[in-house]
Symmetry: C2
Subunit: 230 residues, 2 copies
DNA sequence: ATAATAGTGTCTGTGAGACATTATGTA
DNA sequence: TACATAATGTCTCACAGACACTATTAT
């Protein structure tokens, strides 16, 4: 049997929604060579010793161990592999997209959130091919935001239409008609994916907002039968 | 540095369209242990020695070396990994979906096509978790057939509407209104993804068929802004 | 003429897009 | 009162779904 000389890892693109339509990316300061001390994506090596039941479990473990974070949504995006992406040799990495709760907090100096655009537009360089991985994961998010309710996982379970609008616009990178979103949320209500709490949120100014509650089916995403933004 | 004890491979779910709305799966007789002599998915080990430029290249190499086949469409579906899926130890496998030309032929006794339903419905068992991988790849194909032109890659570049209808119905597993498909093809024509050859195909009976030509942009798929079959 | 298959036309329903209008709160 | 923000209503348009109807070949 071949004893393969290959590195396998799982890397996580974890995103959090902040104030006005911005997405932030979770970074960790590397504790080991190569690229020690540099800010990079959280991840773990997959070497069969950790008794991970599956790759998905390894991804969840990475987020938990490195950042003490449990994401409402975790989804595999793709696997890349090449001889050049890691100085140690031929390596492959499976990328996961994690959507975090906006209230997610971090502990310690080795963890931080950075504005996603800083990475996407190259102002914050990342080691390995991590910048490309981030772009690929964000592309997946954008694509799914067109025809699914995925962006709702960036919100707290109880949310307002305005917050949902911010989430969709952050994922899509452009404005969305609020009437369109209201229609979609209405359809999700009929299917039981959203319930009206009956309560109101009272902002410092303006009319109170209806408080909705997201009731996602675990591991599934609501799919619309049309696209926004054609 | 850790010398990981892990097996990495690439496995291909290669599909061909035959006569009346049926899909066939490419299988290969295994030349090595484990499961030697059994029919299984074509694949290769990824061990860094083969100088594959990337995982995608490894997938293309697997199809070429094992079956002498070059697919019009090759797409990564997912990566699975666990301790139990291979008797040799913790292993991971990246699944690719390949869509072949209907004229694809095979050489040798170690290659064959089998009706996809035989595998999906469990009448043809496969080693490892290959049956689950096939189901996952077919699910991807079905999902994409709802809102993209992916099934066209199962046809020869020059095709008729009837053939396209068969491709979509095979991927979706149910009937499609031909008027709907005609509308979609019309929109692809306007965008330059399909051209009207002006020529006709003359079947033994009935009105001659318009011959269309598929002009896909390499590596991309035409996306419609609505779903079929809601 | 008849059978067989290809292609068009018509009508309905749904939901996005755009924008005006109304509703409900605070200062 | 004015202002700010939420929510609803109206109208158009594109396209899927269903099905009737017409077109073009062979026998």
């Amino acid at each position: 049997m071949n004893n393969a000389q290959i590195l396998a890892s799982v890397d996580i693109v974890a995103l959090r929604l902040t104030a006005p339509q911005r997405l932030e990316l979770l970074l960790i300061r590397r504790a080991r060579e190569p690229f020690i001390e540099q800010w990079a994506l959280p991840g773990v090596l997959v070497n069969g010793r950790c008794a991970d039941a599956s790759l998905d479990a390894a991804a969840a473990r990475a987020l938990d161990e490195k950042a003490r974070v449990a994401p409402p949504h975790l989804e595999q995006v793709a696997t890349v592999g090449s001889a050049s992406r890691d100085p140690r040799g031929w390596s492959m990495s499976t990328i996961y997209l994690a959507l975090l709760c906006p209230t997610t907090g971090l502990e310690g100096d080795d963890l931080r959130f950075i504005d996603l655009d800083e990475v996407l537009e190259g102002r914050q360089p990342l080691p390995f091919d991590h910048a490309a991985l981030v772009a690929q994961a964000y592309a997946r998010l954008t694509a799914k935001a067109v025809y699914t309710a995925l962006p709702l996982h960036l919100l707290q379970p109880r949310f307002t239409v305005t917050e949902a609008l911010a989430a969709f616009e952050a994922c899509l990178g452009q404005a969305v008609q609020h009437t369109t979103l209201r229609g979609r949320l209405e359809r999700m209500k009929e299917k039981g994916w959203i319930v009206d709490t009956g309560e109101k949120n009272r902002p410092p100014m303006g009319r109170p907002q209806t408080l909705l509650e997201h009731r996602p089916e675990p591991g599934r995403v609501f799919v619309f039968d049309r696209s926004v933004l054609v």
